[in-house]
């Protein structure tokens, strides 16, 4: 024990010296057009430690695809227009104002003047044009390119003067300014050379020297220790100030420790080694709640998230040769009454209680109560009814034999398999519950857990499955990002992929409505169109919607300005405004970690 105390003291002293070396915010220059944040005023200093499941893979905002990389990159870069995670509406960011043309196709953005990157170099329209050139370049292969391509045509960027840029869309696009959220503005002075040389994808890997990386976000990279942590420090030139004109961010350092899965993250949080946890399961949340009075943690249940879990049936046309069993069963799946019966028999209450520990909500459509702006409130939420299910099945020509088994009209017993990803314990549990529910109808269901990618291969490629439990959604509440799920030729039209023509009338109707809402600029009109889409989906049950979990987060009591939200990034979206209340943080934090 004594040696530990000794070590603590030494580390403490050294760490105090170490923190003195964090860059101080640069003095405010009158030529800078800064954004004033209207929140609570905090105090400077301190370090925030966040646990991550594994390490990020790259620091390159253009090629990063995984959530871990995006978590770190998002704190180091800024976009032109941001979506405020709490209000879910757009607000100015690097663009301090913008004008839309009457036809909704052109956006003229005025950039903030006098702003500098984290390495001190100035930011202007050249950087914006360069950034979009990179994003749109097919040779670079950024996944974000697809966001900027509408109807097969990319948007066009033009520099009007040093601080003004115009974007022109191929056609009017509703809520187009939402496209800019998350598109990091890149420093031309650092990245132009690798771009011209054609090795852009290899730039800004994890081993890049911190001095070669720059961004407009509240933090910049300080140090990366392979397999252990990545440390971000304050960006002294950050372009936001608080109400009293102190330059943000308040925090000196933001550390990401690679601690492991959710259980390890909770364990470290409990041990005090990390300061925040995000997207807890209900069991872990309950565990932390038990100790809340002693520890003073801020634990929040933010209500339903935007993701939706569902059971889907394979309605893809299959050549009956190889997979004739599946083809035979598709006759049942294609019958609307069969799907409605399954939906009536599913015990959503139990799913919410047993899978989400009552911290979740049942769903009957793809838009749940978490999405306040777009949910169609008038869709019916029928309670579970085995009677209704039986009636539906009877009227569809199914019947029961003496031992209670359900048989189809040709006398074959009704049984099918549900595949799901074995790494997602919640969906596995849902499968077990549904298996039990349907056994009361005389349907025998087999649950087959598969490796995640093996399952995706079956759903997207080989179509060698009968039913699956999956989840989608969770990004933006706006309907546009979901287009490809509901358009009949969309790439994520999971139950029936590769449609050249809409397979049914209701799919055709959805196509028309979705296309319409995409170009309707008025929110009221869009809402009506999207409401009708939700109604058609609820009536035709392409997915049997199940439930959505609540967003559960936690943070230490000393963290100020903690305003978690149901949109990504749940806890760090306002990292520039987070601060630590207790100044003696250093002494308390040092030591064994």
């Amino acid at each position: 024990m004594k040696s530990i105390a000794h070590l603590t003291l030494v580390v403490c002293l050294l760490a105090a010296w170490g923190w003195a070396a964090a860059p101080a915010p640069a003095a405010i220059n009158s030529s800078e057009e800064l954004q004033k944040e209207d929140g609570e005023v905090g105090q400077y200093g301190g370090r925030l430690v966040i646990g991550q499941r594994a390490e990020p893979k790259t620091l390159n905002p253009v090629t990063a695809t995984d959530a871990l990389s995006r978590e770190v990159i998002g704190r180091c870069h800024a976009d032109l227009i941001s979506i405020n995670r709490v209000s879910q509406k757009t607000e100015p960011a690097l663009a301090e104002s913008w004008k839309t043309s009457p036809d909704g196709r052109s956006f003229t953005l005025k950039l903030r003047k006098g702003i500098r990157f984290s390495d001190g170099q100035p930011f202007d329209a050249d950087d914006v044009v360069f950034s979009f050139t990179v994003y749109l370049d097919e040779a670079v292969g950024s996944p974000q390119r697809d966001l900027l391509v509408i109807d097969g045509k990319p948007l066009v960027v033009a520099k009007l003067d040093e601080y003004t840029v115009r974007f022109t869309l191929p056609r009017p696009y509703a809520a187009a300014e939402r496209l800019f959220d998350g598109l990091a503005m890149l420093p031309k002075h650092l990245l132009q050379k690798p771009y011209r040389e054609g090795n852009f994808a290899q730039t800004w890997s994890l081993n890049t020297a911190p001095s070669d990386v720059a961004g407009l976000g509240p933090f910049r990279v300080k140090q990366y220790v392979a397999g252990q942590r990545i440390v971000l420090e304050r960006n002294p030139h950050y372009w936001k100030v608080d109400r009293e004109n102190h330059r943000l961010p308040y925090l000196d350092e933001l550390d990401f420790l690679f601690v492991g899965g959710e259980d390890q993250q909770v364990m470290r949080f409990e041990a005090g080694e990390t300061d925040m946890v995000s997207r807890l399961s209900s069991e872990n949340y309950a565990l932390l709640r038990k100790e809340q009075s002693r520890s003073g943690w801020q634990l929040s249940d933010l209500g339903p998230s935007l993701e939706y879990n569902f059971l889907l049936f394979n309605l893809n046309p299959i050549d009956a040769g190889k997979m004739n069993e599946i083809a035979r069963k598709q006759a049942w799946f294609r019958d609307l009454k069969f799907r409605q019966a399954v939906s009536a028999a599913v015990d959503r209450d139990s799913i919410v209680r047993l899978v989400y520990g009552a911290r979740g909500t049942a769903l009957w459509g793809n838009v749940g109560p978490g999405n306040k702006l777009w949910m169609n409130q008038s869709i019916p939420h029928p309670q579970r009814s085995m009677e209704a299910a039986r009636q539906l099945l009877k009227s569809a020509g199914f019947f029961w034999n003496d031992s209670g088994q359900l048989l189809d009209s040709s006398g074959k017993p009704v049984e099918f398999t549900i595949v799901t990803s074995s790494s997602n314990t919640q969906r596995m549990k849902m499968a077990t519950l549904i298996q039990d529910d349907l056994s009361h109808l005389g349907i025998q269901v087999h649950v087959v857990p598969l490796d995640f990618r093996a399952m995706l291969d079956r759903v997207f490629q080989s179509f060698d499955y009968e039913a699956a439990i999956m989840g989608l959604g969770g990004g933006d509440p706006d309907p546009n990002p979901e287009m490809n799920v509901w358009l009949s030729n969309g790439a994520t039209h999971l139950w029936h992929l590769n449609e050249t023509q809409p397979a049914t009338d209701w799919e055709r109707e959805i196509d028309t409505l979705m296309q319409q809402q995409m170009v309707t600029l008025d929110y009221g009109k869009r809402k009506k169109l999207y409401d009708r889409v939700q109604q058609i989906i609820a009536e035709n049950v392409p997915f049997v919607f199940l439930a959505t979990p609540d967003v559960l987060v936690g943070a230490k009591s000393q963290i100020g300005n903690f305003h978690p939200a149901v949109l990504d990034h749940y806890t760090l979206w306002n990292a520039d405004q987070l601060y630590l209340r207790a100044p003696a943080r250093g002494v308390e934090r040092a030591g064994i970690r």
Binding site: V10, A201, G227, F258, R453, G591
Partner: protein, 325 residues
């Protein structure tokens, strides 16, 4: 000498065959790295297809294998799709951390396991054996991951050592002596889990083998002649009972890189474990194959060392080589 050369040749062949089978297996497994992106409605299939082309994933197996082999001969094990950097440096930085942990744990395992095995083997039925047998059976029966999470849960409750990781924050500012202590403290939990499991295995095998030897007539004779117990154990019993232990030691060396995966993942030790787990699940092919080959090198080295020691220590094997059956 000839023998070592022969083994070297055989190892090269083995590695070559292994690499081919790796490619074959990864080709067999459905799914690829970019599949996860298909679930994102905002990414088009064309982008995913072009990414696959860019990383050469759509080329036929033969072509990919040929290119990889040619590069591998020059030491280039390919690119990691996830990290966009070459595989070799990725593996090497983390392999060092893994070796630090496993070499220490293996050393302690054998230091404790052999004497314990000798003790319980020679004192069968007595107190030491009665204590050790259920303990080692328990340790061998509990699945490693349950043991790991259990110990970690205790650590979190009592907080006398860090709950994971290898270095504290602010490690760079410590003095060399402090650094050693910091790492040692972090090594306690993963090391404990590894040693507990390892000692049980070694103790059991040594014990069984000691029991076998103690039954031999010449040992009875030696005891009858009045040779002391300790001398008997170390000079007469151990050399003979060592045969399976030597093979086991070969396994210990073989497992230096791969045997600690579960422990590293659970305690967030920054070694090969978490890297390989991520890479395997996400189908980061060349990283996985590189790691498999690296582990195979250790396996081959381990078995070679074990075989050399076996031949050197047991004259009967040497004799047997010359009058081949």
């Amino acid at each position: 000498m000839m023998y070592v050369l022969q083994r070297f040749l055989r190892s090269v062949l083995l590695l070559w065959g292994l690499s081919f089978l790796c490619f074959l297996f990864t080709e067999m497994a459905p799914g690829s790295f970019f599949d996860e992106m298909r679930l994102n409605p905002q990414i088009s299939p064309e982008t995913i297809a072009s990414l696959r082309t860019r990383y050469g994933l759509d080329r036929p197996l033969g072509v990919r294998y040929a290119r990889w082999t040619i590069a591998a001969i020059h030491g280039d094990l390919g690119y990691s799709i996830a990290y966009n950097t070459p595989v070799t440096p990725l593996l090497w930085t983390r392999a060092k951390n893994t070796l630090l942990l496993t070499v220490t744990a293996t050393f302690l395992t054998w230091l404790l396991g052999v004497p314990l095995g000798l003790l319980t083997g020679s004192a069968r039925g007595k107190f030491a054996d009665k204590l050790a047998t259920p303990t080692s059976s328990f340790l061998l029966a509990v699945p490693e991951i349950v043991l790991a999470v259990g110990i970690l849960a205790l650590v979190v409750r009592w907080r006398f050592v860090p709950a994971g990781g290898m270095m504290s924050l602010g490690f760079e500012d410590l003095s060399p002596w402090q650094k050693i202590r910091d790492i040692a403290v972090h090594m306690l939990v993963p090391g404990l889990i590894l040693v507990l499991g390892g000692v049980a295995v070694v103790e059991r095998h040594v014990r069984a083998s000691v029991l076998e030897v103690l039954n031999m007539p010449y040992i009875q004779a030696a005891r009858g002649l009045g040779i002391g117990r300790v001398r008997l154990l170390f000079l007469h019993v151990l050399p003979v009972a060592a045969n399976p232990a030597i093979s086991l030691f070969g396994f210990s060396i073989a497992a230096l890189l791969g045997g600690s995966l579960v422990v590293e993942v659970v305690t967030a030790w920054p070694g090969l474990g978490p890297l390989i787990l991520e890479a395997t699940l996400s189908r980061d092919l060349y990283l996985v194959i590189g790691a498999v080959l690296l582990s195979a090198v250790f396996m081959i080295a381990g078995n070679l060392i074990a075989d050399l020691i076996l031949v050197a220590s047991d004259p009967r094997i040497r004799a047997g080589e010359s009058n081949a059956a």
